[in-house]
Symmetry: C2
Subunit: 220 residues, 2 copies
């Protein structure tokens, strides 16, 4: 058949990305019902079976919800698990903390050595660095420093750096994230953290080192 492929990438993956991009672009908003399988398949010129595979994939990645007899819906990113999916810190009484986050800075840079090791990058690869402060009841308790491989966000590289949009887009892409690895240790805080948290010199802090993998990479 005429498989108008691009670099031999499987059709169902291309379709998945196209659908995900519509969500990320806001074309389909959270809570919306999207067209049915048959119409979607026609629109992209694929068979219903291929479209179903793409939709199933997106559901397994928590971007969509499919309900028999009702339709396919865009999951609300803010609801339940997604926004707090990787923010699971609780007080002794069970209340969740860490909901309040404020972005301090976003920058592009070459990956440093620890970043290369954890993100499996090589020498000159570029990364986005996002630093945020997390607070609970207006009291800062954690400094968050995230590094993302720039290669994962091809759209951004092309069109510059739309600063504040990055976080939203990262969240959209974030839904495609898979398992996370965490390491908790005790040690000395970084100078930045020590200052932001207003700590006395020599104070030890809990260090949470978290590596989140994309759904694809986590399979191996």
């Amino acid at each position: 058949m005429r498989q108008e492929r691009f670099f031999n990438r499987p059709l169902y993956l291309q379709v998945r990305d196209a659908l995900a991009e519509r969500v990320a672009a806001g074309h389909w908003k959270p809570g919306d019902a999207i067209p049915n399988e048959i119409d979607l398949a026609r629109e992209w010129g694929v068979s219903s079976g291929t479209m179903r595979k793409s939709l199933d994939l997106l559901e397994s990645e928590h971007l969509l919800t499919r309900l028999q007899g009702r339709g396919t819906f865009v999951k609300d990113p803010g609801s339940q698990d997604l926004m707090l999916r990787f923010s699971n810190i609780y007080l002794a009484d069970g209340t969740r903390i860490g909901g309040e986050a404020r972005t301090l800075d976003i920058a592009v840079a070459e990956a440093c050595e620890p970043e290369c090791a954890r993100l499996r990058l090589i020498g000159g690869d570029q990364v986005y660095r996002i630093s945020r402060v997390r607070s609970h009841r207006s009291k800062v308790f954690m400094i968050e420093q995230a590094s993302l491989p720039a290669a994962l966000f091809p759209l951004l590289v092309e069109q510059g750096l739309p600063s504040h949009r990055l976080v939203a887009i990262a969240q959209a892409y974030g839904m495609l994230l898979g398992k996370a690895e965490e390491r908790i240790s005790v040690g000395a805080p970084s100078p930045l953290a020590a200052e932001a948290l207003n700590l006395a010199q020599g104070t030890q802090v809990l260090i949470l080192d978290r590596v989140v993998r994309t759904a694809e990479a986590s399979a191996c």
Copy 2:
């Protein structure tokens, strides 16, 4: 068609369970290559498409690995992620701890109130309770108390309680586990833990409350 179903459960799930049982029973051992799709489909009297869906499911549940052009293989439970999948505690230098575990006790009982809440059980449901001590370099640092809904292990209920086998079977079933939720808090230890860890009265401990869901339940 003649869908010899049992209680209307989807065919591909029945097939998945049948395949998983062969692995759990040791019929197919870790590292083994299992028969090809077509033969398996014939053996169970389903279409190749259905068999493929079952195999894909089992791969997504990390029970099998499928390699194009080679075959389908049983994953080694002891390798890499599986045994330590839910034991991710590290020292500051990055070495993993918690590898040494000793089972103290296994018992059957009615679910108590906290168990009902976390495991979403009702009144008289039964649970298995397993308590273990975890040590690092022969030094005990954690008491582990696990509760499992007895309903998830139908084989065991029928044939009594093969005590030491339970852990192995739980591990086999454990491969079908999905996401985990964790809550870390600070508080007073239980009397049992305080004694086992040889703590002075009033000492505070870190409490890790982890709920692991089956792959199916974690979808919702």
